[in-house]
Structures are given as C-alpha cells and as structure tokens.
C-alpha cells in the first residue's frame, strides 16, 4: 500500500467534499425550507465562476475580485428570487422543475453569448501556485489547501448562523414546519428571500473557488447539480449538518473509488476486464451509497426534526 498516495487522495477527496458541501448547503436549505425544487442551483454556481473570473480580471487581484463577486452573487440571487422563483412557491414540483430547467437553458445560452464559447478562467497568483509539503513526502497544491480551509470556515460560519442566531432559529423552524412559522407571524416571504440569497452566495462561492482549477464555462453547473442532489438525499433534505457529512463522504468515496478500484479489480480479474469495469464501477459508487442509505434510512442520515 502506498501511504503517500492514500494521504494525498484523502486531501483530494476532502476538497471535492468541501465544494459539494457549499453547493449542497444552499440546495438543501432551499428545498427543505421553501419546498422549492431549484434545478437552476447549478446555474448559480456558474454565476459565481463567471462573476469572479470577470472581477479578478478587472481588479487583477484574486482576493479583491472574489470579495466583490460575493455581494454581487447575493444581489443576483435576491433578484432571481423576486422576479422568477417567488411565483413558483404555490405551484407543484413539476412546474418548478420545468421553470427552473428553463432558467438553466436561458443562462447557459446567455453566458455562451456574453463570454464566448471558450469561457474564461482565473490564473492563480504566484503565492498560490506552488505546493505544500507535509511530513512523509505528501504534497498538496497550495490552492487546494486554500479551498479546504475556506470551506471549513464557511461551514463553521453556517453552523454558528443556524444554531446561535435568531435567523438561524427561523431557518430551523422553517425546515421543520413551514406553515407553523408563518402562522406565528413571521414574515415568511422575507425569510424565503434571505434563504435563497444565502443559497446563491454559497453556490456562487463554490463556483468562484473552483474556477482557478476547472475554468469557467457555460453549462458547468449541471454536473455538480446532480452530485449535490445525491448529497442532500444522503444527508437528509433541509439539514446543513447532513449536507456537510454527506458531502465529505461523497467526495472521499468518489475520489478513493477513482484511485483504487482499478488496482483492486486487478487482483480478481484480468487487465482488460479491470480496465473496463474500473471506471464504470467508480462512477457508480456514490449512487450505490445513496441507494444503500435510502434503503436503511429513507429520509437520509440527518432528517430535520418533525419533517
């Protein structure tokens, strides 16, 4: 067993988990509290990527560009909620799916026209383009470490927000029983707008921090959206804690699968079969995980109380 590789893949899996968590946290709040199936959540991730790339280019600073892009994401999210999504709350899930799918197509085409087919990217400044050497010969790119640390800080912030503040109390109450919160005289419309804005900022932030690695292009939100849905189903819809644990679990399993399945299969079958089966099985792993968890705990690992 190669322990250096194992450790590096652990970091890689953890980093993927962090990105998934940031997208899934907003998705689970919007789904859990507002009962809105928002397929366009991946579009918000794309918004973040393009906004950050543009502001980083204009300011010529990674940190400044992202700091400007964050409030812009909040405004974009709130505008989207006020103009389009607000009209969908009373509709059934199918209408919501159709309308938000329409948003995906609209914005993918919009970014294609506005930024060109080649998309855009963010170049890392020299102080982030190296690698960090850890004990035992483990090396991790600087920037991936930045993603892990900043994601953990956001997770901590969310934890404090949800468990220690009044707005967090309302969010938790909303996830458990939306009607009751409204009946108690809380301005549920305002709460929904804020939750959607928060979700947009989280998705946008993950799009921003991944862009220096994967680049920004039209349609980038859809592949992450599927994974984010897997995460919230595993974690329990409406639960931030569930989203965090499920995201890290999904990230680790996906990365470990891609790293070691083909080697493991070589022990039990010939090279050709292992080469064919390896990629197939590793891309199925997280769905198998989801199926198993749904079979044991149909409402996910950490369903909100009362849901």
């Amino acid at each position: 067993m190669n322990y250096v590789l194992l450790a590096e893949q652990f970091f890689n899996g953890f980093q993927l988990g962090i990105i998934l968590f940031l997208v899934a946290a907003g998705l689970t709040l919007i789904f859990g509290i507002m009962d809105l199936v928002n397929l366009a959540h991946g579009t918000l991730y794309m918004f973040g990527a393009f906004f950050a790339a543009t502001f980083v280019m204009l300011t010529d600073s990674l940190i400044l560009g992202m700091l400007i892009a964050l409030p812009v994401m909040l405004i974009a999210g709130i505008l989207l909620e006020l103009t389009v999504l607000r009209t969908l709350y009373e509709r059934n899930h199918l209408d919501q799916v159709l309308a938000t799918f329409g948003l995906i197509i609209f914005f993918n085409e919009f970014f294609l026209i506005a930024w060109g087919p080649e998309g855009t990217g963010i170049n890392l400044p020299p102080y982030l383009s190296g690698t960090i050497s850890l004990p035992g010969g483990i090396t991790v790119p600087d920037y991936r470490m930045v993603i892990i640390v900043s994601g953990l800080l956001v997770a901590l912030f969310l934890y404090l927000l949800v468990s220690k503040t009044r707005i967090g109390m309302l969010i938790r109450a909303g996830a458990s029983n939306r009607e009751m919160v409204g009946a108690l005289g809380i301005n549920i419309k305002l709460l929904f707008t804020l939750v959607f804005g928060l979700g947009a900022v989280l998705a946008g932030f993950s799009g921003m921090i991944i862009t220096p690695i994967t680049q920004a292009e039209s349609g980038m939100g859809e592949s992450i959206l599927i994974l984010a849905f897997v995460v919230i189903v595993i974690g329990g819809i409406g639960s931030i804690k569930g989203a965090f644990i499920a995201a890290i679990l999904t990230g680790l399993i996906d990365t470990m699968g891609r790293s070691f399945i083909d080697v493991a299969l070589l022990q039990i079958m010939d090279t050709l079969s292992a080469e064919t089966a390896g990629p197939a099985i590793s891309s199925m792993l997280i769905y198998i995980l989801m199926a198993v968890i749904l079979a044991i705990k149909p409402s996910g690992l950490f369903p909100p109380k009362g849901a």
Binding site: L112, S129, T131, T139, R144, I213, S223, R258, P279
Partner: protein, 392 residues
C-alpha cells in the same frame, strides 16, 4: 455565408431563372458545430471552407460553387435533420464537414442512401475505415487511432520508457488509447479514462505523481484541455514529467492557452499530419489567407482538413468535366486526388482514407503568437490499420 445563401435563394427566385440556376451551380452542404462551446472548432473550419472557396474563385469545373452551412449543435439527431434538409430542400450535390464521430455516424447513412458523396472533414471513426467503408464515403482527415500511433512512435524515439495514459471514456477516447498502445514499446505504468463530465483530475494527477512515469500521454480535446493542463501545473508535474498530447493542443485552442498564460505548454510535443509551417506553396498561401479572413489567427489542423475537403470535391468535379451528377466519374477523380493539398502530397487508400505522413510538432512562441512548429517526420505514408477489413 449564412447570410449569403439566405439572400441568394429569394434573389434567384426573383430573377425567375431558378431551374437554370440550379443546373449551373454546384452546391456543397456543410454541417459543423457553430454553437455550444465546441463552436471554436466549427468557426475555424468555416473560415477555412471560405478560404478554399476564394482560392477556387467561387467556381468548380467551370460552374458556380455554392456553400451552404448548417449547425449541428453537437447533437447527432440535429446533424441528421440538417443533412436531410440539405439533401431534400437545398438539393446539394455533396455533403461535407462533420466534426464528431457520433454526429457523422447518424448523418452519413442519410447522404449515402441518397447517393451523395460524403466527405468527413474531421470525424475519423475507425469503423468507416474498415468494415463500414463505402464507395461514396471519403475522409479528408485521418482515422482516430492513426495520430496516437504516430505519438507512440515518437515516444519510442524520444526514449520514453514509462508512460502514463490519460484519456476520456468514450468511443474516440478509447480509440486514441488503442492507437498509442499499438506502437509504444515501453511500459504503460498507469491508465485512466475519465468520464466526459469530468473537470477535476485531482485523483488521477495524484496517481500520476505516485507512478513516476517519464512521460504522460494525454487526449483531452476542446474544453477539457485548459482545465487539465492548469491542474497539471498546479500539482507541480510540469517541472518533472513531460506532456505528450494528441488533439489537445492545437491551433484552435492555442490562443486560449496563451490568453490564460499557460506557459508550461511551450515546448511540449504533439503529433499531427500537418502544421502551419509545413513547407509547401499551397500551405503558405492557405495560412496567409486564413489569417486575413479570420482575425489574424493561425489555422488549426481542423481548418487544414476543411480546406482539403473542398479541394478534394473540386478535383472530383473537375475530373468529371464539371458534371457533378456523374457520381462515378466524380468518385474516380476524387480517388486520384489530383489537387494541391496543404499537406504537400495527398493520396487515398481503397477505403478512401488518406495515406499520409505524421510529424512531431512543438509549441513555440514566435513573434508573440503561440503556434505549432513542425519538427520531424515520425511515420511516413501511414494508412489506417483496419484498411484491410474494407471490401471495396
């Protein structure tokens, strides 16, 4: 050109001589990807068809030439619909273009069934070079595994002993891997075919680092390239392990690499049947006129193939004395391929795929513009390995 044809149709009707017009002009239907992120390739090829049109003086075999472009949106069903439209409504004499093997696979049978000559200007699906070859099917590019086979030979020549193979998990991606495995004599120490939805190679790059190869073979075309090459550098691999790529660093995406300042790609090797500085008169003229037509850009191999596709059709029509409806005579003319190619010389095998040289190319920065420069001939007169399976 869209506008030109759109305007030309009602104009011809107004002149009230449509029947004469139809008989006098030769129409070529061209299906490319002109929307979606892949439109970078389509637009590059469209410009090349227009350069070829200009070089032909807008005429082939003494008749007026008409190019009709359509967009496949990177979808096989749309490519097929557009092919049907071009054949039934526009009554084209030839079909060409086609970037993707799966779009071509859906569209070619329509054209072949209608008795039209079909020239693939890029899609190089192996089946059409072997079992599924057809008397009216031509390919003016290559068969998928040819270029990676050349790369395998280049790796041997450059003394690479331990190779890591990275590709995409779909038909063409697997054919690329099969190609390099066929000729590479060293040891393949690792191999990963990632799903096409993949944009983060963290796990694969860690495996490459652990395997310590002395070269990495890469097939990441189009939008995969910028993301992969960026991560390769972020992991520090650019300093230790040379990259050898096929169809990943080309004239269409070099301007993007340059804009994103991916300097570690300068000096890397790839293989191809052509390069912008390949020394022959036709190529010099093509490269110069392409730049004039298309924002000063240097053409990609896609453009070179598009140019040769139209020239191949023109050679066939010329041999048939300008009678495009005489398919047998046109086909014979095309098989002879008597035209000035950007490759210098060109000849076709009995499966109608080119038998051609492959060269090593290196990324250089010349006059502030990144480009590919030919280094040496890696294999001469290379024909697809499945040519013998073709019963023509």
């Amino acid at each position: 050109m869209f506008k030109k044809t759109l305007l030309a149709a009602p104009l011809a009707a107004l002149l009230a001589v449509p029947s004469v017009q139809a008989a006098e002009s030769i129409k070529v239907g061209i299906v490319l990807t002109l929307t979606t992120p892949a439109s970078i390739i389509g637009k590059n090829m469209k410009a090349a068809y227009e350069v070829a049109y200009d070089h032909l003086g807008g005429k082939i075999g003494g008749k007026k030439l008409e190019l009709i472009f359509e967009d496949d949106g990177l979808k096989p069903n749309i490519g097929k619909q557009k092919t049907e439209k071009l054949i039934k409504k526009d009554k084209v004499d030839f079909m060409t273009g086609f970037i993707w093997s799966h779009v071509m696979g859906a569209s070619a049978p329509v054209a072949l069934k209608a008795g039209k000559i079909f020239v693939s200007a890029n899609a190089g699906h192996s089946l059409y070079a072997g079992k599924k070859c057809h008397k009216n099917f031509f390919n003016a590019a290559w068969e998928n595994s040819q270029n990676p086979m050349a790369m395998g030979s280049l790796l041997n020549q450059r003394g690479v002993k331990k190779l890591y193979v990275l590709s995409l998990n779909y038909a063409a991606g697997k054919q690329m891997v099969a190609g390099v495995e066929r000729t590479f004599k060293g040891n393949i120490v690792g191999k990963d075919l990632v799903p096409t939805s993949h944009k983060d190679w963290s796990a694969e790059i860690a495996k490459v680092k652990a395997a310590k190869p002395d070269g990495v073979f890469v097939f990441y075309p189009g939008a995969w390239g910028p993301a992969f090459f960026t991560q390769y550098k972020q992991a520090g691999l650019d300093k230790t392990t040379p990259l050898y790529s096929v169809f990943s660093v080309d004239g269409a995406n070099l301007p993007i690499f340059q804009k994103r300042k991916m300097k570690h790609l300068i000096g890397t090797f790839n293989t191809m049947f052509w390069a912008p500085d390949l020394d022959n008169a036709t190529n010099k003229r093509f490269v110069a006129d392409f730049g004039k037509k298309y924002k000063g850009q240097i053409p990609s191999h896609y453009a070179a193939q598009a140019y040769d596709s139209l020239m191949l059709i023109a050679a066939g029509v010329k041999a048939a004395g300008g009678d495009a409806s005489n398919t047998d005579a046109v086909r014979k003319g095309m098989e002879k391929a008597d035209f000035a190619s950007v490759r210098g010389k060109i000849k076709f095998g009995k499966n109608h795929f080119p038998i051609q040289n492959f060269y090593s190319r290196q990324v250089i920065n010349k006059g502030g513009k990144w480009q590919l420069s030919v280094r040496q001939t890696v294999v001469e007169d290379h024909a697809p390995v499945m040519s013998n399976e073709c019963k023509l």
